[in-house]
Symmetry: D2
Subunit: 390 residues, 4 copies
Amino acid sequence: MSIKPKSLNVALVGTRFMGKAHSNAWSRVDSIFDSAIKPVLKVVCGRDQTSLDSFADRWGWRETSLDWRATIERDDIDIVDISLPTHMHAEVAIAAAKAGKHVFCEKPMSITVKQAQEMVAAVTSAGVVNYINHNYRRMPAVMLAKQLISEGKIGEIYHWRGTYQQDWIIDPNFPLTWHLQKEYAGSGPHGDLNSHSVDLAHFLVGEIDTLSCQTARFIDERPLPATYEAATFTAGTIGEQKGKVTVEDTSLMIVRFANGAMGSFEATRFAAGRKNHNSFEIYGSEGSVIFDLERPNELAFYSRNDEPHMQGFRTILATDPSHPYISKWWPPGHNIGYEHTFVHAVADFLDAISKGNQIHPNFSDGLKTIKVLETALKSSENNQHLKVIQ
Amino acid sequence: MSIKPKSLNVALVGTRFMGKAHSNAWSRVDSIFDSAIKPVLKVVCGRDQTSLDSFADRWGWRETSLDWRATIERDDIDIVDISLPTHMHAEVAIAAAKAGKHVFCEKPMSITVKQAQEMVAAVTSAGVVNYINHNYRRMPAVMLAKQLISEGKIGEIYHWRGTYQQDWIIDPNFPLTWHLQKEYAGSGPHGDLNSHSVDLAHFLVGEIDTLSCQTARFIDERPLPATYEAATFTAGTIGEQKGKVTVEDTSLMIVRFANGAMGSFEATRFAAGRKNHNSFEIYGSEGSVIFDLERPNELAFYSRNDEPHMQGFRTILATDPSHPYISKWWPPGHNIGYEHTFVHAVADFLDAISKGNQIHPNFSDGLKTIKVLETALKSSENNQHLKVIQ
Amino acid sequence: MSIKPKSLNVALVGTRFMGKAHSNAWSRVDSIFDSAIKPVLKVVCGRDQTSLDSFADRWGWRETSLDWRATIERDDIDIVDISLPTHMHAEVAIAAAKAGKHVFCEKPMSITVKQAQEMVAAVTSAGVVNYINHNYRRMPAVMLAKQLISEGKIGEIYHWRGTYQQDWIIDPNFPLTWHLQKEYAGSGPHGDLNSHSVDLAHFLVGEIDTLSCQTARFIDERPLPATYEAATFTAGTIGEQKGKVTVEDTSLMIVRFANGAMGSFEATRFAAGRKNHNSFEIYGSEGSVIFDLERPNELAFYSRNDEPHMQGFRTILATDPSHPYISKWWPPGHNIGYEHTFVHAVADFLDAISKGNQIHPNFSDGLKTIKVLETALKSSENNQHLKVIQ
Amino acid sequence: MSIKPKSLNVALVGTRFMGKAHSNAWSRVDSIFDSAIKPVLKVVCGRDQTSLDSFADRWGWRETSLDWRATIERDDIDIVDISLPTHMHAEVAIAAAKAGKHVFCEKPMSITVKQAQEMVAAVTSAGVVNYINHNYRRMPAVMLAKQLISEGKIGEIYHWRGTYQQDWIIDPNFPLTWHLQKEYAGSGPHGDLNSHSVDLAHFLVGEIDTLSCQTARFIDERPLPATYEAATFTAGTIGEQKGKVTVEDTSLMIVRFANGAMGSFEATRFAAGRKNHNSFEIYGSEGSVIFDLERPNELAFYSRNDEPHMQGFRTILATDPSHPYISKWWPPGHNIGYEHTFVHAVADFLDAISKGNQIHPNFSDGLKTIKVLETALKSSENNQHLKVIQ
């Protein structure tokens, strides 16, 4: 048998959508990538024993725990994975860092800049590997965009257009889940979706210098879930009572980047027909790239350096071994899916631990995004174009 | 022979790109549409006799004139078509109205709100039919979007996204033509392209209540055309001297419509690969529509009223006899082109004269657009979100 | 005034769909192209004086005639344009050639190879310019495909896929017009649509050596038009009586080209949702091109010579001055339509007359296509793969 | 803890591309689906102990074996998974059936009809669950096509177009791997790719009654792999010697279905730019569907029952909980990938065992496909249209 790589034990906190996607990645990475570190799905933490048992059984977590704090302090835990609602990220991340654990944290990083700053301080002080899971950087097509930019194929960047549209709450009877309450989510699509777009803009274009933002709410009250519990935030059947929506339904921004590029951002949950339309367009002096998460394996690329009669947006199917991550997967033309971004993130996270490197976006990168988002909300309140203080 | 319809004589002022497109429309409309009025291509006005002769010969104008003012005052002229650079619209339009002529005026309407107001006053006082040629309203696919909205298929509108991208000046050696000088053009893509988008937004969504705008210039100086003459503004070969670009290269806006919808606008001449990408997306409570002028015969439509497993954006090829204007043209699947919008505009303009009706967008509609654009430039200068005073 | 080019008088025979499209082209060409010859719309020939008058008035034909034979023999007629149902092409074309007129003939050339051979003999003997109007060669995007092939960008061709799909008779109550009767049309989509595809394959790939074909009819009887007259073949309201459909509803072919490429053809009027889907795909050792008439201004092009991570099908918007015919029309991104192919054909036809050249496809090219189609029908009857004898 | 489902032990024979994809499915199914049976990755069989060890370690197989025959006869093996080159399917499948094991067999089923018949006889006699892995039936978008057909949304089917294009051997220096040798592969894309298309046509349209086929080879000799071994068939670096390609490079078919529909098939490995373009189009009296594996989560659907001005091909993103299999995966808009088809196949296979049902395509279905393919090769040799004897 081959020599086993070093093993590290993971504790997962949170068992909903992201808990599932993260579990899939931790359990899958070893078969696909040749990491020097083998992650062990050691403990999953939650609030309800029955559902914890079922979750652990399904995903292969060896133990369960109702006490996340005790768990992350266990000596045999090396990595803490935070898959919780946003308002709990800071508390768990800071505790994990203080316990000396590497931290893999779901996005958006936090509700406030202050929380994010404390999180950065904690991981910096602890010297642990830290990561905010803006997973879409790690779609091969997005990494290919980065590569083309680095190769000079796009030239000086003039324009960024980031658009993240969904429609899952367009029905006025969609219930008031935690996502729609400022207390738990911080904001609506501005934090949830724009945080992805801003992270991608930072990654691909650069820092944002100034911005204008306007947010709006289209539906002010929604039915409370009949089975609603503060503890679970789960949407079940709806009840007769209504509650106040306290986050925005859409957020639009115009920005100037430090390098002179102009950008726009639009995030909404009210775009009928758009399911997970995380799209960006980048236009530069030499060429352009366009990405749309609803066709996640494609990157459109235009080059002004092609012969004039042969210029056009080409659709690159980013499933070639020459494309990032792909050589580990399937032959050309065999598409990968949404969940693979998580596998890539976990692989790179393990690689960073193994090599003693940083992985990006780390907590410092995440803080920059939170600062942009917070400045934007001020801009919307004050109706002014504002400078982002990084 | 059939009874000839009434004839009206047209005088065209201007012989460049728009002069050509308008001439095509005046000469074509009679073969395709059954107008009660037959336009006669009577006089074309310009500055250079040689090129005027050639133009008249090519397009069938019966006479030429170097004196537009004398021409439009002729008793035998019924319609004045203004195909000039923006800064000359007001003078010619007001003179034509005072002479009692119907006025067909190219967009954007004017450089300032003040000019536009004077133009409205002139045509109102004269009681003539007046039209600003935001021709894209009259693509069948755009009219179909209007129809679907009117039928309630889109429901309450939440979002407008207007994007008008070109790349024709992306080369820093593209010369300093009149389009790039504030004196002649008023503004850059903000006036040229956003005026189209704002007109479409007014047509399809409603009035704009408040807005934020940011403009930017990417290239400050450009070579003067070697053959440059103030009189012709023609770009020929470039010379060694450079001059200052005095308009913006891009303009981005966020708006709130009076009806609560949120909108964004982006206009640029620096989007590599976009040739005439006049695109809009409208998202509502019942469905969505998307249009892109680079695929001008198509409208994408999404309906939330389809059965759930059958919902998707459908690409309607707007070439069916059930679609606006199409029954006059070719069988289904036989696409029409850019110039056909002008034929439709001319047909509707003649129809308005014949019936004593208004045609839209008229000068009052044009004024509303100019007000939005002027407010936007103030917003960009002051870095504030401003109310549009209509 | 500029020196007037030489004028030639045209006689048009036929006033239906093609009569309209041809009239448009004859009346338009002079404004757009700088031909050495100016066509004069002299006489239009038909069967009904009232509709002839209306047609002449609409399109600018100076005279009308109920006697095509007398008309084409007039000394002052230089060009005969045949826009009739297929079964009448041979008689008119041969008479026109014998009268020494240049012949512009609508496709498909004829019902039988024998007719086509007689037509070739007549024009050859007369030495007149002759043309079969497979107009789609003259879409700029198709000409661009030809150019890329000529430049070696596609390399050795391995595959041709020609697909021409429509759905206009999918309703079983669509009436029994002349198109559905062998006597008048010769065949169904095999002649009507496959003739276009075979012409394009000859143009872009080369000669067809052997083939297999299968045709099928889906609906055997259809209502007779209530207002049906043998003389007009017009579909009006349907009556209670039914008649036999005597042509096929679809035709499928597999071919080997003389150069070793393999090809397929599919033509149908029963493809729900396809309106005028004349599409081809060509795959070669260096690259590929794809065209679809429903997006007529686009050509998809793939190059194996791009860097591996940058390879993809690029959508070339064939509206650049570097593209065939376009410099005569509008700026980049301003699409042209279906009818423009006819303008190009007329321009090239006049150019051939002026220069004493051939234009392609001429009658000899048309004959080759008819031979392929006739061999294919034999293949379908005999269930055998057959050699095409050119 | 929840009650554990019944466990069954799997033996996998073959460790290349398909061995990897199957291993992924066996190890993944339990986390996503709630099968009554839990598969245990018990033994993997191969020829080389070192690579077997590595494979077992990566994918979680508990044991390895160099003797597949002994392994499948072990009492503790319940399921045999055959992931071998085609020429070995029959021997292993028949042995597995005789040993009373359920058989999950990769496609194409066999090299000859005779082999396939013996395989059917073996599993029928043994009464075991048997499956041929035409996995593309189990893309949600393909299952959705089936559902729409079953619901009558397509109506009477007139046309099938199956196209499976790749380009992985277009370089003449691609080496002579086992896929290119008749002895091991039976045929080229005709068996490899057309087998998928024929299976889909059987599934979605019905049985094929008669057909014409033409195959062709474009490159007759290829370099032998320098490291070539009969035992491994692996392409490594190429050597100086060349060997004969003994399979076709492309195969084209025209078919008549028993229900009257007409169909075409094209399979090639020489379509530059097509990576895994497994595409089909189905046109019926009520509507149409189009699928393309390069955009695997999408199904295009056209309905003639939409209002006329609203008809168009709609792109259904088949990631809604209302779509087949999706409720087990991620929220709407979160695409799945190629490998998920295998997970679905394994889930349904386990379900069939659990319930004592058949799963389709089973060996009998596979035999039908092999009969079509074998008849087609005869048609190509004899240049005749032939009846398929099922």
